[in-house]
Symmetry: C2
Amino acid sequence: MSNPSAAMLVIGDEILSGRTRDSNMYYLAGELSHHGVDLKEVRVVSDDAAAIVAAVLSLSSAFDHVFTSGGIGPTHDDITADCIAEAFGVPIGVRGDARALLAAHYDAQSIPFNEARQRMARIPEGATLIDNPVSVAPGFTLRNVHVMAGVPQVFRAMVSSVLPTITGGAPLLSQSLRIDRGEGEIAGPLAHLASDFPDLTIGSYPFQRNGVYGANIVIRGQEGSRIDAAVLRLAKLFPEES
Amino acid sequence: MSNPSAAMLVIGDEILSGRTRDSNMYYLAGELSHHGVDLKEVRVVSDDAAAIVAAVLSLSSAFDHVFTSGGIGPTHDDITADCIAEAFGVPIGVRGDARALLAAHYDAQSIPFNEARQRMARIPEGATLIDNPVSVAPGFTLRNVHVMAGVPQVFRAMVSSVLPTITGGAPLLSQSLRIDRGEGEIAGPLAHLASDFPDLTIGSYPFQRNGVYGANIVIRGQEGSRIDAAVLRLAKLFPEES
């Protein structure tokens, strides 16, 4: 049985402009891997409604789950919730339970619950809220799209809230072996190994360090015993590395 | 006059599996920004021919330039060159000049120029080679697609080889101001500022540090004097931060 598939959609100009180095993608990829959900594609688009709507439609029809990050705060460039509503043709407005969560949070701190902050309670009709234990303003799931914040601490907390609601498959297991030879030397035997283990994914990640060429061979799959067998075979092919 | 647009296509399982944190995307985004090329979208796909071909076709028709990273080495999982040839319906084979470069490189080190290494001279018909001063095996440009290696040192060297061949526009300039107030307080005045400066992109990147909420406001555009004016206005709106 194959694992559910997923895509991630990163929304915002900060990565495309080179200002910020991604960390949410890296985090989500690791979490999905452990949870037995196969991340198949990531897209990064800017704060542009047409681009967001098109990506949501394309990814949500191609994969079992879509995880978005970014664009759900109170500022003018936060347009993700409206774009999700537009993509699925559903109305959007301030929702009572989301509003109540935020009102209680700001009241407790004697911070005015102004118009901008109320914007964070705008949720498309039919969505389920995603809990935000860090800063309260919720994310939401609509159909197969899980909409989360871009701030890394909040993103991570929301991933922890939403993952238990998703049925994963077998976690992706992996082992790796570092071989201090050029890829050109490894390639032939590795191709044979890959064809003998069609149920595994065998990747070669070359590096060059202090003038030494080498590659990390990463063997991934869902059955530990098969991975063990492949690593053993690989180690025999390059005995000096094992 | 608007800048040329670009997309990046990252090819390979290592980011999707959570094994590797991206660095090429971050590097390219910064370089394009300086060069006056607007990076509009990034996609990450796995080593899957159908996914690569579809992404190349979609991105190359939507943007002025497409930059790819990964999948051009000698191992079985390196299928990018074949996918580019397939996407554009052109033949691919070992090319004389690429073969000669590689042969000389390996001969000089008395390393056998075996079948796997010769695979790196497979170049789609009609392409222009991209110089690789790090490890010789070239990248290539076919139509508006620039195909580069995934190993970060090599990727960076190839970006340096290819960027001077591309006519950029005005570099994207930016200034930022850190405001130690919650985004909900900043949002109203910021929306006014954004509507008064429609030629600029004004982004708000919230953070939470040691219990303090704040946001970095980043103002981007092509005209330094306009950015200065917007930052001055922003500083007046939040005088204690300037």
